[in-house]
């Protein structure tokens, strides 16, 4: 077995050295009825690298790869071009095969990277501080709601209907068990957000208001008034960003007064990866930092006075606080955070702004073309790189017929909201820099055929 260096002679010598007659002696504490004498029956034996690669490659070929044709899916996961150097650098063994930086003297690479990542995220979101990352955007969103409960000591969260339905589901699931009250609902096919209504719904029991920006239908809006309403009532405003590239073009939630900003960082550096691993972004005003979940990296000095970095404020965390911890989270999404940080470094502010502008322009061009298809209308008044089309028929079957024609034409709202007939004709379409003019033309033509 190519990964196991012990030879039969080594094993014999080591068993003798520990005073065991056979390997079974070392498993003597396993009850007899649970001890297996041979390999577990019914499973294949070991395989060569070639054989495994062949098997996996065959499975890989059974999917329609996003890059193999016109592709317009978003709804929480976005396909952007990732420079080759990103994947090269994250595969350096010193990053890939390192552990959590608990021994800072020999983990300054990871720690300095995390400090840079935290600084990048804080600036992107327009907030004071960011942590070293969470599992993904959906879990970060729930953690933010719990954090708001801890800070305000109130238990009612108002969720905008524009919040990603899966994020809402995660929160619903968790709230069932924690006793938090959630006020939520499905969106309606209107050009504007529900934020003004949310402002009016805030009361003395409200811990937080959660809005997504851009939202699930691609709508963007100014959250300043909502932030003021939250502040006046002692509630927190939580903003969720699932497409961080947008913040190269539109105002950051922190700039508009959001108290906690969370997001999905996948769009920058990570890739689609069929849903994971992704990287949850988590940032807030500095006065709330001790209520934050997750790891934090901070600057300090070593015994010789040299600058260095350590994990800090660890007393919030499970390994010290146990049942009183701010969260049970025990990891971050380190390698994905690294990919995010490297891609963001390659872009820089100038590159990010330009990338965002290209996305927006390409999306506007697509929206214009697609809205020309008979019976199709554009819902949004304003959007970044994702918008909602309203079709003359249910969007779900249309998606499958488009797929037969080689077009991955967005996410039907019917899939996201299966129980809501009022949304069945909605189609969420994302357009990034990876989409070409030919792709847009092919999509428009295919949609016209399918709807005819």
């Amino acid at each position: 077995m190519r990964y196991l260096p012990l030879t039969p002679d080594d094993r014999a010598a080591m068993l003798a050295a520990v005073g065991a007659a056979s390997i079974d002696d070392l498993f003597a504490d396993v009850p007899a009825e649970a001890r297996l004498s041979g390999p577990i029956p019914g499973l294949p034996m070991h395989a060569s690298e070639l054989a495994v690669e062949r098997h996996m490659a065959a499975l890989s070929r059974q999917s329609r790869v996003a890059g193999d044709g016109p592709f317009f899916l978003g709804a929480g996961a976005y396909r952007h071009h990732v420079p080759a150097s990103v994947d090269h650098l994250i595969q350096r063994g010193e990053f890939l095969t390192a552990y959590t930086p608990y021994q800072p003297e020999i983990a300054q690479g990871t720690l300095q990277m995390l400090f840079e990542f935290q600084s990048q995220v804080a600036r992107l979101f327009g907030t004071d501080v960011a942590n070293a990352s969470m599992y993904d955007g959906s879990t970060a969103c729930w953690e933010a709601i719990v954090m708001a409960r801890r800070i305000t000591r109130r238990g009612k969260a108002l969720l905008s209907t524009g919040l990603h339905p899966h994020y809402r589901s995660v929160a619903r699931t968790m709230a069932t068990y924690t006793g938090d009250t959630l006020v939520d609902g499905d969106p309606t096919l209107e050009p504007g957000t529900d934020w003004a209504a949310l402002s009016r719904a805030i009361d003395k029991d409200t811990s937080c208001v959660v809005v997504q920006y851009p939202d699930i239908l691609g709508r963007i809006d100014d959250m300043s008034a909502l932030a003021e309403a939250c502040q006046a009532a002692g509630a927190l405003l939580i903003a969720v960003v699932t497409e961080p590239v947008a913040l190269g073009l539109i105002k950051a939630p922190g700039e508009m007064g959001a108290d906690i900003v969370v997001g999905e960082g996948q769009a920058i550096g990570v890739g689609l990866q069929f849903g994971g691993p992704y990287v949850g972004l988590f940032a807030c005003k500095s006065k709330y930092v001790r209520q934050m979940p997750g790891r934090l990296c901070g600057e300090t000095v070593d015994a010789n006075g040299k600058r260095g970095f350590v994990l800090t404020l660890s007393t919030r965390e499970q390994h010290i606080r146990r049942e009183k911890a701010t969260s049970n989270i025990c990891t971050n999404s380190g390698l994905c955070a690294l990919a995010f940080s490297i891609h963001m470094t390659l872009l820089g502010e100038a590159g990010l702004r330009r990338l965002a502008a290209i996305n927006h322009q390409r999306a506007k061009a697509a929206a214009t073309e697609l809205a020309k298809v008979p019976g199709v209308s554009l819902l949004n008044a304003a959007f970044f790189n994702e918008f909602t089309l309203v079709l003359p028929t249910e969007a779900r079957p249309v998606i499958h017929r488009l797929a037969e024609k080689g077009i991955l034409g967005g996410v039907s709202l019917g899939r996201l909201y299966p129980d809501n007939d009022a949304l069945a004709n909605g189609l969420a379409v994302a357009v990034t820099e990876t989409v070409t003019e030919d792709d847009i033309a092919a999509f428009a033509a295919a949609l016209k055929e399918v709807l005819a």
């Binding site: 520990v18 929480g76 990048q120 849903g275 992704y278 260095g308 299966p418």
Partner: protein, 513 residues
């Protein structure tokens, strides 16, 4: 055993005195200092070329007009910045990484190659189901392996990490109790448990009560049975436990807990010790998370991403979260909110936006297929041989509190008893850094004073272990003899001991340029 100077090195042995030499750059040959990105980058610089120019957007007051402050670097500078940073990290690729309970084993590169195959890496989680059959096939095939290897009934694949898996298992227990119309509030957790166990239980709204250990370092069965009752939802138990011992009475514990109406959650962090040789399902476990990044060698990546599928008994399987993959004939189908009503009506809900850590599933499946049933059995056997070899080779110089409790499993536990006045486990850890090793897990489990938990894993050779044992013997003797040079170790790392008190008292959590 490799011959080593038993007294170890001394700082004065370094010709040239590494600690007081200075250079113009601050570099020392291959040890290169690297400034912060924010000190070398510029907001005008970009390392990405674009094919087109675009007109200004017309977003009115929503336009981001104020500076963001994100520095950029050219590609050449970027590669150098991160390559230099990487060299300040210790990693498995460099040497033994014996962190107890973390299972730092070799990460095969085949798995990296497989994970990047476009049919797994470049597919969207919400693509039409007929376009992602290959990706579903991977999830399904790995799920079958995990169920078979553990002797369980079903598996929830979506949890994003071990602690998230714990939460999944605990929520299944809560849902099962609710379905029975019972409101049991107490979860029993041994004192030696990982901190995530009580944190998870509390996060899910349970009250946590400790169960004591016996003198052997195992759960006290009598005390546990005494505590069982109508308010107890279940037990969270780690097996093998964090003292490195197999919980001999686990079947008896399961039977007692089941008889009292509770469930058994098993923390599977230490599954590497028994994979392919013992099935937790045979011991009465109801739920167990599997850290794919431990037992199945997906890379730790400097602290994640992990992946924590949860295997479930028949009693808990109906409550598993959405979404998951099933097979109908030769087609795979995703069960999500839309069709759960008929197929899986009792699910407790959704834990994450999409299907879980696909990039880890591909790696873990490649690892499992490479080993096969025979290779996985060899994995646990070699992991256990290596740990016992370390335990028996060091128990004369370091106190091993449970050395008499029988063989250890995959990790060896020592305490700080017998060190010279003023010397601690921390000093031994920092001494190991200078010897070129990552230290073991220190100060965990909490039940042992100054604990040192060593998990060599099966991917280390006898020669590597012999040298490590020699180095650790040397350091242990220095700590027992009160060698002052050990108190200021490490001397040869990129940084000396860092001031964690300063970092916590005056937190600086971002660049303030």
């Amino acid at each position: 055993m490799t011959a080593l100077n038993p007294a170890g090195w001394r700082p004065e042995m370094n010709a040239g005195g590494a600690d007081d030499s200075t250079t113009f750059t601050g570099n020392r040959a291959l040890m290169l200092e690297e400034p912060l990105l924010f000190e070398i980058g510029s907001t005008e610089t970009t390392g990405v070329d674009f094919d087109e120019d675009v007109a200004a957007a017309d977003l009115g007051p929503l336009a981001r007009s104020a500076p963001i402050g994100l520095p950029g670097l050219s590609e050449s500078e970027t590669v150098r910045h991160y390559t230099r940073l990487s060299r300040q990290n210790y990693a498995i690729d460099l040497g033994l990484f014996p962190l107890g309970s973390c299972t730092m084993k070799h990460n095969p590169r085949l798995n990296e190659k497989v994970a990047r195959m476009p049919g797994f890496a470049d597919v969207h989680p919400l693509q039409p189901q007929e376009t992602v059959q290959g990706a579903y096939a991977v999830i399904h095939e790995l799920a079958e392996w995990l169920v078979t290897l553990t002797g369980m009934h079903a598996v929830a694949m979506s949890p994003k990490a071990g602690a998230h898996g714990e939460l999944c298992g605990v929520l299944c227990i809560k849902a099962a109790l609710a379905a029975r119309g019972e409101d049991r509030r107490v979860l029993l957790v041994p004192e030696s448990a990982h901190g995530t166990n009580p944190a998870t239980a509390a996060f899910a709204g349970f009250t946590v009560e400790d169960i004591p250990a016996n003198a052997e370092g195992r759960v006290d069965l009598a005390a546990l049975e005494e505590r069982l009752g109508p308010d107890v939802a279940g037990v969270m138990i780690t097996n093998p436990n964090t003292c490195g011992l197999f919980e001999r009475d686990l079947k008896a514990i399961s039977d007692a807990v089941h008889a009292a109406g509770g469930y058994i959650y098993c923390d599977g962090a230490n599954f590497n010790a028994i994979v392919g040789r013992v099935r937790p399902g045979d011991l009465g476990v109801d739920a167990m998370h599997i850290n794919l990044h431990k037992t199945f060698s997906t890379p730790h990546g400097g602290g994640g991403p992990g992946s924590g599928p949860v295997v479930l008994s028949a009693a808990l399987a109906p409550f598993a979260p959405l979404p998951f993959v099933t097979k109908d004939g030769d087609r795979f189908r995703l069960i999500e909110e839309e069709n759960a009503g008929e197929a899986h009506p009792d699910s407790f809900g959704r834990m994450t936006a999409f299907h879980g850590q696909m990039g880890m599933f591909t790696r873990a499946l490649a690892y499992i297929l490479s080993h096969g049933a025979d290779g996985l059995k060899q994995v646990s056997e070699d992991a256990v041989i290596n740990a016992n070899y370390v335990l028996r080779s060091l128990e004369d110089v370091l106190e091993a509190p449970f050395a008499a409790s029988g063989p250890c499993m995959h990790e060896a536990l020592f305490s700080d008893k017998g060190l010279a006045e003023g010397f601690s486990t921390l000093d031994i850890a920092k001494g190991l850094i200078d010897e070129g090793y990552h230290p073991m897990t220190v100060y965990f489990p909490l039940v042992v004073h100054g604990a040192m938990l060593i998990e060599p894993t099966e991917t280390e050779s006898k020669a590597v272990l012999d040298q490590f044992i020699g180095a650790l013997r040397s350091i242990a003797l220095r700590a027992k003899n009160g060698d002052p040079a050990l108190k200021s170790a490490p001397h040869f790392a990129p940084r000396a001991r860092l001031d964690e008190t300063l970092a916590a008292r005056k937190p600086v959590l971002r660049w303030e340029g």
